[in-house]
Symmetry: C2
Subunit: 635 residues, 2 copies
C-alpha cells in the first residue's frame, strides 16, 4: 500500500467537557434502558403528563384496553393461583411463626397493589419461604414468637423492606441488585431449603420439643434428643401427603399440559388434612394450625414500632429480605418477560414491590414478592395481564369473609408436607453440578452460600457468597489480562499468540494488547507485566535482535484513571532507558480524553499514537528503513 494511505487519522480531541462526560456516564449508570424515551416523542404537555402517569401507574395503560376475552384467561389463572395461595399462605406464615391468618391477608392486599403498580404480565404475588424464615430468624432474637410484640415487629420489618425497595427504585439503584449473582441466589435458596426442610421435621414427626436454632447441627441433635416424642401415625400421614405431592410434580414433568395437577396438589392436601384432622385428629394426636377468624385485614398502622429498643432487628430483617425479595421477584419477572418478548424496567418494578410492602405493612400483611412457584402456575394457566392478581385477591376475599374458619383444622403435618415438597424443588443440585463443570469460581460462590446458610446463618451465608463474588470482581480488576499479538498469515489481523499459535511475529517489534480498565489496582501489575513481556521476548531463542518498538493496543481499554496514565508514562520511561520506543494503538475516547487532560499526549507526542496496528507497524518500519538508510549512507 502506498504511503499516502497511512497513517489514518487518530482523533486527537479536544477532550469532551466534564459535564458532557458526567451526563453520559450518569445516563449509562442509572438509565441504561432509557425508560423515558417514550416521552420525548410526545409533543403536547398533556400527552406527556398522561404518559408519565401511565409509566408510574401501569394499570392506566393496560386497563383501558381490557377485554372480556382476556378476562376469561385471567379468571382461570387467578382462581388457580388462589388455590395455591391458601396452603402457601398458611404454611409460610407458620414458617415466619406468625398467626396463619396473616398469610391469607398477604394474598389479599399486596396482589391488588401489584396489579396497579406492577409491569409484569405473569408475576403472581405472594409470600416466600426464604424471606419468611429469615424474618423469623432475625425477629425472634428480640421477641417471643407469636406474641403481639413479635407480630408488630414483623409488620415493621415489612415496612422497612418496602421503604428500602421504593428508595432503590426511585434512585434507580437497581445496579445494587445486579451484584447478587445467580450463583449466590441458587446457593442461598438451596441452603435455605435445607434449613426449612429440617425445621419441618418438628411438624412432620409430630415432635413437641425442638430447637430454636436453624443450623443443621442443632436440628439433627434436637431430633435425636427428642426421638421418643415421634408420632409415627403423624409421620405416616406426612409421608403419604409428601408422596402425593411429589407424584403430582412428576406428572407435570411427564406432560406439561397436566401442570394443573401439581397446582391443585397443595389444596387437595390441605382439604384432606382438614377432613382427617376433623374426623380422627384427636385419636391420631395431630396438632392443627388453630383458629382462623373470619373477616378481612384490619389496619396495622398503630402496630408499627420505631422505638430504639426494638427497631434494629426489623431494620436488619427488612433490608436483607427486601433485597432478596427484589432480586428474586425481578429475576422471575424478567425471565418470563423474555419468553413473551416483553421488557421489564427493573427500577419501576422495585417501586411496585415497595408499594406492596409499605401498604401491606399497614394492613396486617407481611413481606410479599413474586414467588417462582406461583408465577409458573400463573403463566401455565394462561394469564394475560396483572388482572389475574386481582382475581386472586377477590378469591382470597371470599375465603377471608366466609371460609377461613374451615382451614383452622389444617394439621401441621399437612403444611410440613407442602413446604417440604416445595423446598425439595429449590435444591438445584443439577445446576450446581453444571456450575462445577463450567465455572469453578461460580461453583465456589454458590457452595459458599449453600454451606454458609446451612451451617452458620442465613445472613452470614449471603455475606460470604456476595463477598466471594466481589473478590472475583476485584481479582479481575487487579489482573485484567494482557496478551501478545501476532499476525495471522495473509491478513492484516493481529490476534493473541496463545490462542492462534500460527501467528507470525515481527522482528524488533513487540505487540501487546492490554486489558481493561487501567486503574490504580492494576497499574503496578501492568508495569511489571509489560517489562516481563519485553524481557522474555529479548531472551527468547527465536529472536535475533533486541526489541526496538513496543506497540500497546488499547482498543479494548474503555477506562483509565490518573494512576493508570502515570503507569503508562513510567512504562515509556523504562522502555526509553532501554532505547525502546512505546507506541499507543487505537486509544478509546475516554482514554484519549484523559491523555489530553493530563498533558500526556503532548509528552509522548502524536507521532506515537496510531489508529491501528497496521498503521503503527508501517510507521515503525518506515522509521527503521530511514535509520538503515542513514546508517548505510554514513558507512
Amino acid at each position: 500500500m502506498s504511503t499516502e494511505e497511512y497513517p489514518r487519522s487518530v482523533n486527537f480531541g479536544p477532550a469532551r467537557s466534564f459535564s458532557i462526560v458526567l451526563r453520559s456516564k450518569m445516563k449509562e449508570t442509572f438509565f441504561p434502558d432509557d425508560p423515558f424515551r417514550q416521552f420525548k416523542s410526545e409533543t403536547s404537555a398533556g400527552r406527556r403528563a398522561l404518559k408519565g402517569l401511565q409509566y408510574f401507574i401501569p394499570i392506566l395503560e393496560w386497563l383501558p384496553n381490557y377485554t372480556l376475552n382476556l378476562f376469561k384467561y385471567d379468571l382461570l389463572a387467578g382462581i388457580t393461583i388462589a388455590s395455591l395461595a391458601i396452603p402457601q399462605g398458611i404454611s409460610y406464615a407458620n414458617l415466619a411463626q406468625i398467626p396463619p391468618i396473616i398469610g391469607l391477608y398477604s394474598s389479599f392486599v399486596p396482589p391488588l397493589l401489584y396489579a396497579v403498580f406492577g409491569s409484569s404480565r405473569h408475576l403472581a404475588v405472594g409470600t416466600v419461604a426464604a424471606c419468611s424464615l429469615l424474618i423469623a430468624e432475625t425477629i425472634e432474637k428480640k421477641a417471643e414468637p407469636s406474641t403481639d410484640l413479635y407480630v408488630s415487629l414483623v409488620f415493621t420489618a415489612t415496612l422497612f423492606a418496602g421503604l428500602f425497595q421504593t428508595v432503590l427504585g426511585l434512585l434507580r439503584l437497581g445496579i445494587l441488585v445486579d451484584f447478587l449473582s445467580h450463583s449466590t441466589i441458587t446457593g442461598f435458596m438451596g441452603g435455605t431449603a435445607v434449613l426449612i426442610i429440617l425445621q419441618q421435621m418438628k411438624g412432620f414427626l409430630g415432635l413437641k420439643h425442638f430447637t430454636a436454632h436453624t443450623g443443621i447441627v442443632y436440628v439433627i441433635r434436637a431430633i435425636i434428643q427428642n426421638r421418643n416424642e415421634c408420632n409415627w401415625k403423624c409421620t405416616l400421614i406426612g409421608i403419604a401427603f409428601l408422596a402425593f405431592l411429589q407424584l403430582t410434580r412428576y406428572v407435570k414433568k411427564l406432560k406439561s399440559s397436566l401442570f394443573w395437577v401439581s397446582a391443585i396438589g397443595p389444596m387437595v392436601v390441605v382439604v384432606s388434612g382438614c377432613l382427617i384432622a376433623y374426623s380422627v385428629g384427636g385419636k391420631l394426636g395431630l396438632s392443627t394450625v388453630g383458629p382462623l377468624k373470619k373477616g378481612i385485614n384490619s389496619l396495622s398502622v398503630n402496630r408499627l414500632i420505631f422505638s430504639s429498643k426494638y427497631v434494629l432487628a426489623p431494620l436488619k430483617a427488612g433490608l436483607i429480605t427486601g433485597l432478596i425479595a427484589l432480586t428474586e421477584g425481578i429475576a422471575i419477572g424478567r425471565s418470563f418477560a423474555l419468553s413473551t418478548n416483553d421488557h421489564i424496567d427493573g427500577n419501576k418494578e422495585m417501586i411496585a414491590y415497595g408499594a406492596m410492602n409499605i401498604i401491606g405493612s399497614m394492613t396486617s400483611c407481611y413481606l410479599t414478592t413474586g414467588p417462582f412457584s406461583k408465577t409458573v402456575v400463573n403463566f401455565n394457566s394462561g394469564c394475560k395481564t396483572p388482572m389475574a392478581n386481582v382475581v386472586q385477591s377477590v378469591c382470597m376475599l371470599m375465603v377471608l369473609l366466609f371460609m377461613a374458619p374451615l382451614f383452622s383444622h389444617t394439621p401441621h403435618v399437612a403444611l410440613s408436607a407442602i413446604i417440604i415438597s416445595a423446598m425439595l424443588g429449590l435444591i438445584k443440585y443439577k445446576k450446581a453440578y453444571h456450575l462445577f463443570h463450567t465455572d469453578k469460581f461460580d461453583f465456589l460462590i454458590c457452595m459458599s452460600a449453600f454451606f454458609g446458610v446451612s451451617f452458620i446463618s442465613m445472613d452470614m451465608g449471603l455475606i460470604i457468597s456476595v463477598g466471594l463474588a466481589l473478590v472475583r470482581a476485584m481479582l479481575y480488576m487487579a489482573r485484567p489480562g494482557t496478551c501478545k499479538l501476532g499476525n495471522i498469515p495473509n491478513s492484516n489481523l493481529y490476534r493473541d499468540v496463545e490462542q492462534y499459535p500460527r501467528t507470525i511475529g515481527h522482528s524488533r517489534i513487540l505487540i501487546l494488547q492490554l486489558g481493561s480498565p487501567i486503574y490504580f489496582a492494576n497499574a503496578t501489575y501492568l508495569k511489571d507485566r509489560i517489562w516481563r513481556w519485553v524481557r522474555d521476548e529479548n531472551e527468547s531463542s527465536s529472536s535475533k535482535q533486541d526489541i526496538e518498538y513496543v506497540l500497546l493496543d488499547l482498543g479494548g481499554v474503555t477506562a483509565i484513571d490518573h494512576t493508570g496514565v502515570e503507569a503508562l508514562l513510567e512504562v515509556r520511561r523504562t522502555l526509553e532507558n532501554k532505547r525502546i520506543k512505546m507506541i499507543l494503538v487505537n486509544p478509546r475516547i475516554d482514554v484519549m480524553d484523559k491523555l489530553i487532560l493530563m498533558g500526556t499526549l503532548e509528552k509522548i507526542g502524536k507521532e506515537a499514537v496510531y489508529l491501528s496496528t497496521e498503521d503503527a507497524l508501517h510507521a515503525c518500519k518506515f522509521t527503521q528503513h530511514q535509520t538503515q538508510e542513514l546508517m548505510d549512507r554514513a558507512l
Copy 2:
C-alpha cells in the same frame, strides 16, 4: 476479495484444561514479574541454591562485589542521613508519645536489617510521622502515654506490623497493597500532616494544657481555651527555627546541588536549640525532651504483650500502620528504582520490612519504613548501595554510646519546628489541584482521605477513601462501556462512531463493541443496553430498513462468567424473536473456553462466530445476497 479468503478460521478449541488455566492465572496473580526465572537458567543444584539464597538475602549478591570506590559515596550518604536521623528520630518518637531515645534506637537496628534483606539501592530506613501518630492514636485508648505499658504496647504493635508485612510478602499478596491508590495516599498524608501540624501547636506555642484528640475542631478549641498559657518567647524562637528550615528548603529548590543545606537544616536546629535551652532555657521557659541515657538498645522481647485484655489495640495499630508503611516504602523504592533502571520486587521488599519490624520490636525499636524525605537525601547524597544504611547505623551507634545525653537539652519547640517544616511539604495542594482538573473521581478519593483524616480520624479517613476507590472499581464493573462501531472510509477498520463521527454504517447490520468483563454485575445492563442500541437504530430516521444482524465484537472482552454467558444467550433469544441474527466476533481465549464448556458454542453454532468484523460482514452480506437471490427466483 474472493470468497476463498473468507472467513479466516476461528480457533474453536478444545477448551484448555482447568489445571492449565488455574496455573496460568495463579502465576499472573502472584508472580507477574516472574521472579524465579533466574533460577531456571541455572543448571546445577548448587548454583540454584546459591541463587535462591541470594534472592532471599540480597546482601549476598552485592557485598562480594563491593569496592572502596562505592564505599566513598555510601559513607558520605550514610553520614548525611544519620544527621537527619537524630532530629527525626527524636521528633517522631515525641509524636508517638514514647521516650525519644527509642527514636534513636530505631535508626540503629532496622537499617542494618534492611541492608541485609532489602533490594533498593537508595532507600534510607527510619521512622515516619504518619505511622507514629497513628500508633499513638490507637494505643493511647488502652494505656496512658509514656508509661511502661504504653511503650510495651507500641513494641507489640510493631511486632504485629512486621508479622503482617512478612506474611503478605511470603504469600505474595502485594496485590492488596495495589488497592491503596496514589490519590488515597496523597490525601491521607496531607490530612495527617494537617493533624500533626495542629498537634505541634502545643510545643510551638509553649502551652501546658492541650487536647488528647487529633481532630481539627478539638485542637482549635484547645488553643483558644488555653491561649493564656501561650509563651510568646517560645513561639518567637519556634517561628525563627521554622523560617530557617523553610529557607533551606527554598535554597534546595533554587539549586538542586545545594540539597545538603536542607539536609543538615534539622541538625542545625537541634544543636542551636540545645545551646539556647542549655544557656537561657530556664529564663525563657522552654521545655526540653528530657534525659536520654547512653547505651544501645536493650532487648524488649519480654515486653511484648499478648494478653486478650490489651492485644486488640496493638493488633489494629500494627495492621494499619504495617500496610501504610509498606505502601509508602515500596512506592518510594520503586520510584527511585525507575530513575536508575533497577527493578524492585515488591513482595521481596515486604519481607525485608517485616524483618525490620519483627526484630526491631524485640530490640526496643518501633515501626520503621523508608521515609521519603530521608530517601531523597540519601539519593541526592549519591548513595550506591544499601551500605549507606549500615553507615547510618554505625553513626547512630556512636551517638548512642557517647552523645545521646547531649540531646536531652533539645527544646520541644525545636522539634515542633522540624516536624512542622517536614509536614508542610506533605500537603500537596498542587497535586490535588492537578487531580481536580484531570480526574475528578480521583480528586474525590483524595479529598475524602484528606477531610476524613482531618475531621474524623485517621483510620476512618483511610477507610472512606479506599471505600470510594472500590466503589469506582465496582461502578466500572457494573458499566464496562459499550459502543457502536462504524467503518472508517477507505479502510477495513471499525471504530467507535462517537469518537470518529465520519464513520459509515451498514444498512441492516449493527456492529457493537462490548466492554470487559462480562460478569454477573453487568449482565443485566448488557442485555438492556444491546436491546436499546437495536431499538435506537431501528427508530433512527437515517435507517430505512430494520436491523437484520447484530455483530458483537468481543475482542476486548478478556473474561466472562456463567451469568455472562447466559446473558449472551438471552440477548440472542430476544434478537431471534425479532428475527435478528446475533454474530460473535473475535472471542478471546477465556471467553471461547467458557462458550465451549457451557455448550453455548453448539447452541449458537460455529457459523455465528467470526475472527474479524470484515469476515462477519462478508458472511452476512453473502447470506443477504443469497436470500435476495432466492426471493428474486421465487418472484
